[in-house]
Symmetry: C2
DNA sequence: GTCTATAGCTCGATAGAC
DNA sequence: GTCTATCGAGCTATAGAC
């Protein structure tokens, strides 16, 4: 099956995300990504200026989705039920590609930390927490709000530790996440 | 101040852990560790056979402490209060060096994953969860038990996100961790 | 858009002097 | 126990042909 025009860039992103998440950012070389696609390193550089640019491109899509969620949140008044719906929508976002990206981010802290794209994401995590909990809430509630988000992220790299199918684990994680919200 | 005899090995461990946690395992070169100590790379190789050996050595101390905790746990009968005490003792272990090591482990998943020392640690995390929750407990309770441990680990890289001093955050994290245990 | 070829660098690790 | 010197390998990135 021949590669369709315009497909290569998207395939680079797919393969890169998969390898970055599995093996880590540093341990995944452009040579390896190129080999999986049956092209050379130089071909990658036609589509992306640097290795970091690939990561930036991956985060951009995700940021768009999260920013749409924030836009929705700004139209609502803050209530417990609104917060619950906010978490549900965030859980939707991290299904599929978004989840793999979050796994990559969680497991590659030091590598991601000094990328500009990583900094943007950290600001958004802070913003997520700010929606879920009042700024003057108790310290335990502050922590619970962050654990709520992490509960959803966690399901992505816990597959082997818990003996159940992915959908059941995700549903359970959502339940836990909702329980962790203030005035549950 | 001259270096005391026998100190070098310990200093290598200290500097390595600090840099591994801050910058990541892959991004920290032996050259950089050596430079901070005012020695050469070759000197490091007198004390440790490989880079991985440094990590192994760091984990070994931690594993000893955790295994002592398991030994204590085996002498107890499993009750809610015993589980609470178990968490309190674990929180003690991850004060100081142990905590930095856990931060390193959490943030360097892909790098640590294929080290033997990392595999040993993952088994122990599973064992921690097995103490905290019954094997046939509900899926949400399984997840909560793991979040309980993560709540303690989390305080180590959340410093900037929450505006409070470290001790207060740690105390709050312990409170949250205890609340997450089954039949709280 | 993709190729070959390579520059330029850093890394982990070793050999052997002191 | 620490040094100098170096090896071989792998990396990101670029130049230039097709």
């Amino acid at each position: 099956m021949a590669r369709r025009r315009g497909d290569t860039r998207e395939q680079i992103r797919e393969v890169a995300l998969k390898l970055f998440a599995e093996q880590g950012y540093e341990k995944t070389s452009l040579r390896e990504i190129a080999e999986r696609l049956g092209v050379t390193k130089a071909a990658l550089y036609y589509h992306f200026k640097t290795k970091e640019d690939i990561v930036t491109s991956l985060f951009d899509d995700f940021k768009t989705e999260v920013d749409e969620l924030f836009a929705w949140a700004r139209e609502q008044s803050v209530t417990p039920e609104m917060r619950r719906e906010f978490i549900r929508r965030y859980a939707e976002i991290i299904q599929g590609t978004g989840g793999t990206l979050m796994r990559f981010m969680q497991e590659n802290g030091p590598a991601v930390r000094h990328l500009k794209a990583g900094d943007d994401m950290r600001k958004r995590f802070q913003a997520l927490a700010d929606v879920l909990v009042d700024k003057d809430a108790s310290l335990p509630d502050q922590i619970r709000a962050r654990l709520s988000i992490f509960s959803l992220h966690m399901t992505l790299f816990i597959r082997d530790a818990i003996d159940a199918d992915d959908e059941a684990v995700q549903a359970a994680a959502l339940e836990v996440a909702l329980d962790l919200l203030p005035t549950g």
